[in-house]
Symmetry: C2
Subunit: 264 residues, 2 copies
DNA sequence: TATTATATCTCGGGT
DNA sequence: ACCCGAGGTATAATA
């Protein structure tokens, strides 16, 4: 059965014509393909790039994702997140692979000569991926525990819609003043302050009342502090790892430590 | 010579102890390594993630970059842009690879069982990469040809420093009013408008004169238009591909078409 | 499709 | 080391 076939290895590719046929079949069957070899790469679309000859790792994935990796660094040097078609043909010097993306009219062309290795096969990967501790999760903990932000705080809405976008958390402080909370899971920059400020202003324009704005983050840059001050906004520093371990341990209120004790 | 050795292929890995030794040597020699096999992955650091069993492509690059790719999509499901060390050992069930990054205290742990393929070797890649048509290049063309922006415009500075950052282009219009230009190579959003607005305000605070602000982009979202209007800023639509082909053809002024004719 | 905001963003440049 | 902004960002959610 095709879905469970072994990974086919060509360790000394030499018959170009045959290789082209094999690659075409592998692409048609939506297999994962790995090619290692010397190549030049040309990109044209949203910009234009040229990559001179060198040895690289080329990956064609089962959904048509196309990656060309240099032997260093996290990022591919050229790529195509999804392709409309991938065309393979042999040339005088070697093999040419063209990956085309229709919606953005982008083309990646690889000129391969001297191939060190080709491998292909169907990979079966249904394993579930879970990411914890993203902004959403932090937001939910704060929603349940407004006392972390401020005594007497209560939240009434998550992702409250305004004309210009949505607010992470919305509620009222002990004096009944509306409060807009913007959350960052990494260091808050001036940029984040202005994002919060836009929401505060949009709220004021819509409801005629200026709400308080609180920026929640584990850290703040100096310019963020300056902008908060200048725009009359507040900040609340949180320890995300503590928030996280708190959530993991699922502390029951009333029984044992309170959440504020836990976070202290 | 190690640098030019062939890519070593193990198409049916079975002796775990031997494989662990080979991988360790390959890592020590800073080779590129590709492993295809069934694995689980655990990440902990800036966040936390779990990936259940499935077949993936694992890449260890020569600088320690570590990537785990599922058979679909552009992005790796787990990764480490640069690692302090990569440790390999065999367990009861298979092989365990731990990639650790000291500066951010991040760990990726891969539990491999059933390896379909291992390949490693030193890849030589010195080929130069050039990217054309990034924001810098657009900026330089506009700097040389202020008439594209507006009749009578002249630029005096690129990347002019203000307290809060630097302005893409700075100059004066036909009436001698200071002008701040912010460039976007993709659709300008409300975000970009506010970025420009911040620069305009910072300039006013510093010099006591309110400059004009012009946002240059190939396209503008409706909310960008609204924000430009509300904040008293202007826009200038440019065709980036035309700018680019113009630069490529290196049109000499006076001889043949003028740049404005070319862009029309 | 367009818009918006997140990301374990990465990466490079500046201070 | 931090800060800042660009990216062929990609990606998911939402209108």
């Amino acid at each position: 059965m095709a879905d469970y076939m072994e990974f086919k290895i060509i360790s000394k590719p030499n018959n170009l014509k045959e290789i082209v046929e094999e690659l075409r079949r592998a692409i048609a069957k939506q297999m994962s393909i790995i090619i290692i070899g010397k190549c030049e790469v040309y990109y044209k679309g949203r910009g234009e790039s040229k990559l001179k000859e060198g040895e690289r790792i080329i990956i064609i994935k089962q959904d048509g994702a196309f990656l060309i990796h240099r032997p260093i660094g996290y990022k591919p040097v050229n790529w195509q997140p999804d392709t409309s078609y991938i065309r393979v043909q042999h040339t005088d010097h070697g093999i040419e692979i063209i990956a085309f993306r229709k919606k953005s009219q982008e083309t990646v062309k690889v000129l391969l000569d001297s191939i060190k290795f080709i491998g292909y096969g169907k990979l079966v990967d249904t394993g579930k991926f879970v990411m914890y501790l993203d902004e959403l999760e932090i937001r939910d903990v704060l929603y349940k525990h407004p006392e972390i932000i401020e005594d007497g705080m209560r939240f009434t809405e998550k992702e409250k819609k305004l004309d210009i976008g949505s607010i992470d958390l919305f509620g009222y402080d002990r004096d009944g003043r509306p409060v807009i909370v913007e959350i960052k899971r990494v260091t808050a920059t001036r940029e984040a302050v202005h994002q919060l400020h836009r929401y505060v202003e949009a709220y004021r324009r819509k409801y005629g009342v200026k709400p308080r704005g609180i920026l929640v983050a584990p850290k703040f840059t100096a310019s963020a502090d300056e902008a908060l001050e200048r725009l009359g906004l507040k900040k609340k520093e949180i320890n995300i790892l503590k928030l996280w371990s708190m959530k993991k341990k699922s502390i029951e209120e009333g029984k044992g430590k309170s959440i504020l004790e836990f976070l202290s």
